[in-house]
Chain length 275, copies 2
């Protein structure tokens, strides 16, 4: 059994890719060509996976998109994760944040029921809310530092003395990573490229999960330049809508593959330029 870090590194190396696909399907945006299915989200995403798994290094389903279809959606999510090849890490994006007793139940849901490798979590409740997700090193947790949404500064940019809260969150994550043996990472929105460098200096060893590429329009160059850990684990650069909805026609699977490849190649060009 690999640790989460090792599994991620192996997938990045074998597919020469830092691309993560956000598996966030919305029922009324699915291609008409899918036809009638009683598991439409699953059918759509399985096809995306079948056409991208050799050019990406992670998948990130967001729980909300599946829970929005009730119990059927959760059933489809469980089947989707089962369908994803074992060598590609799956990060369940649940932004979990609850008291310890309850976080244990979320860990059971994410790992035991759904079969994810890692999760995203919110730092607001402190370490109690995190530790159940990293009780064993084959799992990992990505703590929200700077999110990619317009109102992120409402709280995240407030100043704690000379340090803004989002930087302090990265500092907390770095401390928890020491305490929990290299199982932590941070979420840093690429919509705020200057902040990637700052967070990298605070948390040199933590893998970055970077949303906001694509539909949200982040800065790829900064993501590549500051994205890697000191020991060479690349950033997890997520694109969701830019890949899964690359075409709304019957060619959606080929178009998704093409979009994933294009993003992989753009990232790899940036890597060569950066040396």
């Amino acid at each position: 059994v690999y640790t989460f870090r090792e599994k991620l590194r192996l997938a990045q190396n074998s597919n020469a890719s830092w691309v993560c696909v956000g598996l966030d399907p919305v029922l009324d945006r699915l291609p008409a060509s899918l036809g009638k299915s009683d598991k439409p989200l699953l059918e759509f995403c399985n096809t995306i996976v079948d056409n991208t798994h050799d050019v990406v290094s992670a998948y990130k389903p967001n729980l909300a998109f599946w829970l929005a279809q009730g119990s059927s959606g959760v059933d489809q999510l469980q089947r989707l994760i089962e369908h994803i090849p074992d060598d590609i890490p799956v990060i369940l994006d649940g932004k979990f944040g609850d008291v310890g007793h309850t976080a244990e139940l979320y860990a059971l849901a994410a790992y035991g029921q759904l079969g994810a490798d890692a999760v995203t979590a919110n730092p607001y409740l402190g370490v109690d809310a995190i530790s159940p997700f990293v009780a064993v090193a084959q799992h990992g947790v990505f703590l929200l530092a700077r999110t990619s949404n317009p109102s992120a500064p409402d709280m995240q940019n407030l100043a704690l003395g000379d340090m803004q809260i989002y930087k302090y969150a990265a500092k907390l994550a770095a401390g928890w990573d020491l305490e929990y043996s290299g199982t932590c990472g941070v979420v840093v929105g690429a919509t705020y490229p200057g902040e990637l460098a700052q967070i990298r200096s605070i948390a040199p060893d933590l893998p970055f999960l970077i949303p906001g590429i694509g539909a949200q329009g982040g800065d790829l160059r900064a993501a590549v330049e500051h994205g890697s850990t000191a020991d060479g684990i690349g950033p997890i650069i997520n694109s969701s809508r830019g890949i899964i909805y690359a075409s709304s026609g019957s060619d959606f699977a080929a178009a998704a593959r093409e979009a994933a490849l294009t993003l992989r190649d753009r990232i790899n060009e940036c890597r060569e330029e950066a040396g």
Copy 2:
């Protein structure tokens, strides 16, 4: 159609109760007398509801406990909420916190699929992450200010100038409540009784959701003294394990009713003492 505030006030008045029951069942703590059921969480909680609905003013299922049983758990949660009498508000405790586009999907899950009246949410992502939950006044959102877990101070007690983060969260919630027409409340752990008074002074109009009574051992007197809004909406005083596991025997339903009644009466005595 009542607003959430009105629905809560009516339930508090008609049952003379500020008690909220946390419907957080764990499979291996259910009474043996339940026997074999393919929907054990539902069967257990339906029985709790049948025996308490006239002495409480809210129910608060925590999503984690249901999601820990996968799609079946989510199906049971949906059926449970359907079973709860219409005049008792249901707060889905999901501590949601995601970007606007995704928060919309969580609102669809919580209200459209599961049928809850209100949710709990995390303030870390700012107002984008909140607004989809309060798009209409029949719904409400309780923002985490001070949580009841031991590591809450890791982030919540940090000082922003002369104001700690948990107070700032209450201030944000008060602002959002003005923007979204009286649909916001705050979560304030009763394990930190002094803080109830501080948060009440920052947010005089916001209903309080107070966990930490019972198994977590909070201070009931402070919850009563500072719990009500300026216009007389009482606090939502939650007990989960202290009520649902009041007995592990075949008398669990009667014991749960007795525990809910005892808590209601203790609260009402505190109210009389406080005048």
